[in-house]
């Protein structure tokens, strides 16, 4: 009896692992020999509609084909390296439903193996930067705060809460891993400018990442931080907390006579 139960549980577990991946093409019955080969297969079925056969890119909207009836339209991936593939895939920026949309952090639809395969494939499309290995522990939070204020706060807000850039959102940085921050800085995805080693050395990048990590749980003394968004939530509290309470007290105190 117990063995049956265990078997059923194992079966459910297997299903649970397999199920999320089934929505994505490439759940091939045949196992390609190399990771790059699997990557090519997954790429062909999910990415080439916009990024072109062999990742050459499409500089104008192509004919409707591929998954989801997309008007294929996307940059060439030759030479972007494992760095870009790792970033876009692990944040869920890609695949992108509509090439005109801003890529946003979303659920990763590929399995870990498929992600690795895609990265290997994209890296094979031409010499490009590898996945960075930042060391934020070697950076200095204070140097990072200065660098972040100089280069990043204009879009991402000084405590990395995110902000508005005309026509897109600079996202809050709390969900990003150190690797993803390093990748984004070197790539400059979407409307973000990029910062190469000539402007921001690896050591400085370590400091920036150390600061971003600090902003995940900064020194928040003085009470409830209201999201660190500044005077707008403060004004709301002044009116709707203090104002309501104090006017309420005047209502208690005011009506005196029968």
């Amino acid at each position: 009896m117990i063995r049956l139960v265990l078997l059923a549980l194992a079966g459910l577990l297997a299903l649970a692992i397999v199920a999320p991946v089934s929505s994505v093409q490439g759940q091939a019955q045949d196992q390609p020999a190399s990771l790059v080969g699997l990557g090519a297969q997954v790429f062909a079925e999910n990415c080439s509609a916009c990024h072109g056969v062999n990742g050459g890119g499409k500089q104008s909207p192509g004919p409707v084909n591929g998954v989801g009836d997309q008007a294929g339209f996307g940059p060439s991936l030759h030479g972007v390296g494992a760095q870009a593939a790792d970033f876009y895939l692990r944040t869920g920026y890609m695949p992108l439903q509509n090439p005109y949309d801003q890529p946003r952090r979303s659920r990763v639809l590929f399995s870990p193996r498929q992600v690795r395969a895609l990265i290997a494939y994209v890296a094979s499309l031409g010499p490009g930067p590898p996945i960075p290995r930042p060391q934020p522990a070697q950076g200095s939070v204070s140097a990072g705060m200065q660098l972040f204020t100089d280069h990043c706060a204009g879009c991402h807000q000084v405590t990395a809460e995110g902000g508005y850039v005309p026509d897109s959102v600079a996202p809050p940085l709390a969900p990003d891993s150190p690797t993803q921050i390093a990748e984004a800085v070197r790539i400059g995805p979407n409307l973000m400018p990029r910062f190469s080693r000539s402007l921001l050395s690896d050591r400085e990048l370590n400091s920036v990442i150390a600061y971003v990590q600090y902003t995940d749980s900064p020194d928040d003394r003085g009470g409830w931080s209201l999201g660190r968004l500044g005077p707008v939530p403060e004004g709301l509290v002044a009116w709707f907390v203090a104002g309501v309470v104090l006017v309420g007290i005047t209502l208690t105190v005011g009506r005196r006579l029968a």
Binding site: A153, G154, I187
Partner: protein
Amino acid sequence: MRRLGRWIVAVAVWLFARRGEGRDRRGDRERIVPAGPPAPRAELVVAALLLLAALSAAAFIAVYAIDRIPDQTQFLGLSLGLAFAFIAAALIVTGRNLVVTEELDGEYADPQPDEAEKLVQIVEESGSRLSRRRLLGGSAAVAGGALGLALLVPAVSLGPVFDLEPFTRTPWHRGRRLVGDDGRPIAAAAIHQLEFATAFPEHADPEQLGAPVVVIRLAPSALHLPPDRRGWAPEGILAFSKICTHAGCAIALYRAPLFQPVEKPPALVCPCHYSTFDPATGGTVVFGPAGRPLPQLPLEIDADGNLRAAGNFSGPVGPSWWGVRDRKAT
């Protein structure tokens, strides 16, 4: 032990005993404030609230004194705030239950034109010895006016009110090197497309509106600069004042499209009111409330490959003022 107990009882009785009613010192004088029935429970409530206030205030002192308490600010605020809150509650209960609420009639005072007349009369009659009122009045006005003006004049020392030359002065001139905020010169090769850097004039105070510039690089084929700015952008490297011409914030946003066909073109944007400037056309305003294009700094690349200014800005830096377009950056 029993003596202590008796003392405690004695104090408690003394504290909690209620005074008899109507014990007046003056006997039969007429009451001004009407009498009202006692409210013993309310009295106890008020006493309890005041005691709680005392405890909260004591807690404040304790929190202040004990360094090891974390979140000190919160506990300090909580204890002091509660102390005030308990006193407030005690007073409100007192007001509702422990004092007589009278409804009194009063009168709105009227203006008193007779008294005002008398005032005027006093002043007028005091002038009985004056035969040349116009002369005296006029000279008093002139004296007062002149003295008032004299007393105001030292205010002019507050700033160069009549000399607006400092407003157009910038620390840039031909040959001045661009440096980062670490003081090191910026090489032209360090700036690639899609990147942006903030640069300052070498050996100058960075804390002035005319100092900071943003440096970016566009493909030379994408440039559409005004004809008098030919050569201002060697290799497509452009420098603009970092200070927005709308209200003076630092232009800290650079919109750098990675895949231009689906994204907006490159632009420098100010985070305050989202004035958006197009670097390809020399800093013209494409969105937002700025009324004047962003001043551009002409660049040249020196023998070491570093960036230098090739002159001063295309116009005065910072927010506009009356007649700003008549002036040049100096």
